[in-house]
């Protein structure tokens, strides 16, 4: 566990700098190497990686398993789409409004932190479903089944994003910014307190911490991250429909975090690549691809390898010893 865990945690280590540099260079050069199709696929991986990271702020740091993150993601996407399409609001206002809407919903759904364990899972699942139901049934406002279509490309003044490559760089920049902020957050006293609550809530309480407040704050921040992903998602797809708020999105986001390595910075992103890659690949030749995804959930959970990042850490640790 020594080498690579210091590599992931201690910010000053030279190995970490090299790894970061190599990954960054790869990410920057990617559109030039891969062509528009893969550029677009990887943009999608980044967006869902961000959503998975938002889920993992609760799961990996605070130990809360939320099944309502698709709601923040979707409400934010709907807000942007409705503002842009129906009211011709420019991107510079619509995008922040989307993030705000999703975060406000997070302030409301944050009530869920009054519960723990199974209750938290069930309550968040039901809350998420309420949003799906509203999107689906309130068709006069949300467009019902077909949702909101013809969302324009993001633009600042006359500058419009026209190619997949341009959009790729925007998503990359947002993702890196969020990841940088996230790594600072988890290393801060607040992040430490969250992990303390995860490993022993009563102990933290007796130390004078207020777990409920910390968890509420983490919940809202996590909703904020999911909302950012939602804004990117609607500009990526150029439409939004109730599928974006379905339970499947929430479940897949948590699966991404678990597959890639919960509690790590890169894990959710790696998980996003694996889950989306698998889904897109399987759906090209097998009709029952949802069943295959279900089987993958089960297999991953039963064998529980601690995610890809955990696996690499163990591998490196074995070589070093």
């Amino acid at each position: 566990m020594t080498a690579i865990s210091t590599l992931m945690r201690a910010p000053a280590s030279p190995q970490r700098r090299i790894l970061t540099g190599v990954l960054l260079a790869l990410a920057l050069a990617l559109p030039a190497i891969s062509g528009p199709y893969w550029t677009s696929q990887i943009t999608q991986i980044y967006i869902f990686g961000l959503l998975a990271l938002s889920v993992d702020l609760l799961l990996g740091q605070a130990g809360l398993f939320s099944l309502c993150h698709a709601a923040f993601f979707s409400v934010s996407a709907y807000t942007v789409a409705i503002l842009q399409v129906r009211y011709a609001v420019p991107t510079v206002l619509a995008a922040p409004a989307g993030v705000l809407a999703g975060t406000l919903l997070g302030l409301l759904f944050g009530l869920a932190v009054r519960t723990r364990g199974v209750y938290f899972i069930l309550v968040t699942l039901a809350m998420g479903y309420v949003i799906w139901g509203v999107g689906y049934r309130w068709s006069s406002f949300t467009g019902g089944d077909s949702g909101v279509t013809n969302v324009p490309a993001p633009a600042i003044g006359d500058l419009q994003v026209t190619t997949p490559t341009q959009f790729y760089y925007i998503v990359l920049a947002v993702m890196l910014l969020v990841m940088w902020w996230y790594s600072r957050l988890v290393q801060s006293p607040f992040g430490l307190a969250l992990r303390g609550i995860k490993s022993g809530e009563d102990r933290m309480r007796s130390l004078g911490f207020d777990p409920a407040r910390h968890l509420y704050a983490a919940f809202v921040l996590s909703a904020l991250m999911a909302s950012v992903a939602g804004v990117l998602y609607v500009y990526y797809n150029r439409f939004v429909n109730p599928v974006s708020s379905s339970l499947q999105v929430s479940v897949e986001a948590s699966l991404m975090a678990i597959v890639g390595g919960s509690g790590t910075l890169l894990g959710p992103l790696i998980g996003s690549a694996l889950v989306l890659g698998l889904r897109n690949w399987v759906s090209t030749f097998f009709e029952l691809h949802l069943a295959v995804m279900g089987a993958v959930f089960i297999a991953v959970v039963i064998w529980r390898p601690g995610g890809v990042v955990g696996f690499i850490r163990r591998l490196v640790a074995r070589k070093q010893s």
Partner: protein, 288 residues
Amino acid sequence: MHSFILQTINGISYAALLFLLASGFTLTFGLMRIVNMAHGGLYLFGGYVGLTVAKATGNFAFALLAGGAAAAVLGFISDRFLIRRAGEDHLSQVLITVGLTYIIGDVSLKIWGGDALKLPVPVWLRGVVELPGEIVYPTYRLFLIVVGIAVAAGLWLIYRRTQIGAAIRAGVDDREMVSATGIHVDRLFIMVSALASFLAGFSGVLGGAFLTVYPGAEWEILVFALVVVIVGGLGSLEGAMIGALIVGLLDAYGRWLAPELSYFVLFGPMAVLLLFRPRGLFGTANMT
């Protein structure tokens, strides 16, 4: 006033259906600490099997039994070979049973197609009944209320008045003590789990006859059943009864008064409970 009474009966009949599904969920959790999200999948599967049997034999009673039995077998197999492997970890249980629901849903879609299918019911259940106050009401939905009350009464009697029920209640409170007294907890687990799965499949057949069976029904009904359990309190049979009534009635009034926002009505009882009684009306402290 007329529509209010009509909606109230609608709510009670939906409550009867929700209770059938939620009671299995809540008892499985109470006794075994297993969160089985596949209850919705078993509901769907039972509904489809019941549909096929009803079409082949023309007998609704056969359909009910076949739907229940098919779900019980599927539930038993998945419990033995998959869910057990998750151990006590609720996160793993949820992911495994959600995965299972995807498999059930997708395979059912392949077999039975994507259209909403209606289960045929016997002639004597097809008509309407005239209730006092000039209310004309579908016979089938009254039948559903009768079945719901009968099952609830049966379950309650078993749960409160028999030795098996006493063992189950003791198991909900403290499993180690129950096995220490020499009761085969494992046999108890199998019984409760099979009964819960049977009820899920059974309710799928009952529900399929008026809500139809369609892809996605597994999640829709599951969420309603979960809200019932959240409101009533995990592990409590009485909680499932009261919770089902609250959710069923609120849903009926919501659909009637604000059809587009009816799902939002579900959020109401949950929010109130979270503020005042986070463990539900009948929930106890050891249920987490």
